[in-house]
């Protein structure tokens, strides 16, 4: 195995093969962050909707989760990239923007909405795991339902779901690789490029694997720090 190929220049000359990999890494991180922000925002709202008294709202959020959980991510991605621009009014304008932007936007939207369904379930589980008396106590004090959610339920639920959210964060990064299928040059796609151009398959895949492991480790460290900050003293799982 020859690892020096990483430092040879690419055919077009502007960077080394390692540079290509790092570009892929950058795109992976950017895509994952964009999708994760969307997923957290939308997922939290949906998770709340699944626990409120209104039956219509609960059903809507429930339907959302069922749809996005029962269709493979790849199919969803292709629908976003190939179908949505065709059937949504104004979609033809989408097809005229820069190709990379098309791929990135479709990927971010797809990954974001897909992950939102999973975040929704975590938020719901978090809220439902709180003792029923919490909500009643808040309401008895005269707080409105929105206030109850804002000041009592959500803060506690948020702390409880940090561990499962860690694995969701990791999932977002892993799922971003699926977007290589529509041509987005994220890390896995760049790995494949490397194999194509250098014919050094083992080294290329080793490098890509190592980079994913590094991202993994970084996320786990980060989330551990978040988790220790978020611990509620005296509650299960807290050290105090």
């Amino acid at each position: 195995m020859d690892f020096r190929i990483f430092f040879s220049p690419v055919p077009t000359g502007e960077t080394t093969y390692l540079g290509w990999l790092l570009v892929g890494l950058r795109n992976t991180v950017a895509l994952s962050l964009a999708a994760w922000v969307l997923a957290l925002a939308l997922g939290t709202v949906l998770g709340i909707l699944r626990t409120v008294p209104g039956r219509g709202l609960r059903a809507f959020a429930g339907a959302y989760v069922e749809i996005f959980r029962n269709v493979p991510l790849l199919a969803q991605l292709f629908i976003w990239y190939f179908v949505v621009p065709e059937i949504v009014p104004g979609g033809h304008r989408f097809k005229q923007i820069d190709p990379f932007a098309q791929q990135f936007l479709a990927s971010a939207a797809c990954l974001g909405l897909f992950t939102a369904a999973r975040v929704c379930e975590q938020v719901r589980a978090g809220i439902e795991s709180l003792p029923r008396g919490q909500k009643n106590a808040a309401l008895a004090l005269g707080l409105t339902l929105p206030q109850t959610y804002r000041y009592v339920l959500l803060p506690m639920a948020a702390r409880l779901i940090v561990p499962p959210l860690t694995s969701e964060t990791l999932n977002v990064f892993k799922n971003s690789a699926v977007c290589s299928t529509i041509g987005l040059l994220e890390l896995t796609a760049q790995g494949r490029q490397l194999v194509d151009y250098t014919a050094h398959a083992y080294e290329s895949f080793l490098a890509v694997t190592v980079l994913y492991l590094v991202v993994n480790a970084a996320i786990q460290l980060l989330m551990r720090a978040v988790e220790s900050r978020a611990r509620v003293p005296g509650y299960l799982g807290s050290r105090k």
């Binding site: 190939f82 690789a177 151009y197």
Partner: protein, 238 residues
């Protein structure tokens, strides 16, 4: 405004069915092999022998840290040529299906191993003590007493993971991207249900309809399967 035209779907059904058979075949093999290998890994993980448990932990960690897409590409790019060299074969398509099954089994085993490990730990320690007290070896105790109970406790999770696996089989699509640079002969991609839908849609110029159809088909299948698992959980296992 795009005009939706569903007329190409009935004609495409036989081809789609071929693809579905591939999806189901990969799912079936990967579930069975994945649970078997995953159970072995879980038992290894709980072994008192350090090298054994470390290996299992490393394996599970590795496969759970990388994307399935990457593992599949790795398998499609490297394993067929490796196997060809080792076994002296030449028929590429067969190896692709086998490579896909092996890749899925090895990958999913990491996830199944975590489920089984939780299952094993959910069986009360007294059961193992009672088995040992009767003179069973630790392996006998695991096989006759702990694993049957662990398995039964985890059936809903094992089935849910199988549904996820079924959805993941759509990723064999990447075998189309795995044609080795410089390969002399163009080999058609291994087509599962999704891949078949894409191919037909692309060929007939009805990609939009085919993708929507495929999405709807997956939705109906997986929704039904999940509902069946919930029913099973309530009626039989409660």
């Amino acid at each position: 405004m795009y005009e939706l035209d569903w007329s190409s779907i009935p004609g495409a059904l036989p081809f789609l069915w071929q693809g579905m058979k591939v999806s189901l075949a990969i799912t079936a093999v990967a579930v069975v092999a994945g649970i078997a290998w995953g159970t072995v890994l879980a038992v290894m993980r709980l072994s008192p022998a350090r090298p054994v448990s470390l290996f299992a932990a490393a394996y599970v960690s590795l496969f759970r840290s990388v994307p399935l897409v990457m593992v599949l590409l790795w398998f499609f790019l490297i394993v067929p040529s490796l196997l060809r060299d080792v076994l002296g074969l030449s028929h590429a398509t067969d190896l692709r299906l086998a490579s896909a099954m092996v890749a899925f089994a090895l990958f999913e085993a990491a996830y199944y191993s975590e489920i089984m490990r939780a299952g094993i730990q959910s069986v009360s320690k007294g059961q193992r003590s009672a088995a040992l007290a009767l003179g069973m070896t630790p392996l006998q105790a695991m096989w006759h007493v702990v694993l049957p109970q662990a398995f039964r406790n985890m059936v809903p999770l094992l089935l849910t993971q199988a549904i996820i696996l079924f959805q993941d089989t759509s990723l064999v699509y990447v075998s189309a991207l795995a044609d080795f640079f410089g390969a002399a002969v163009y080999v058609s991609a291994l087509a599962d249900f999704f891949g078949a839908a894409y191919k037909v849609g692309d060929r007939d110029g009805r990609l939009v309809e085919m993708l929507l159809f495929a999405g709807a088909a997956y939705f109906v299948l997986c929704c039904t399967a999940s509902w069946a698992v919930r029913l099973l959980r309530r009626r039989v296992l409660a």
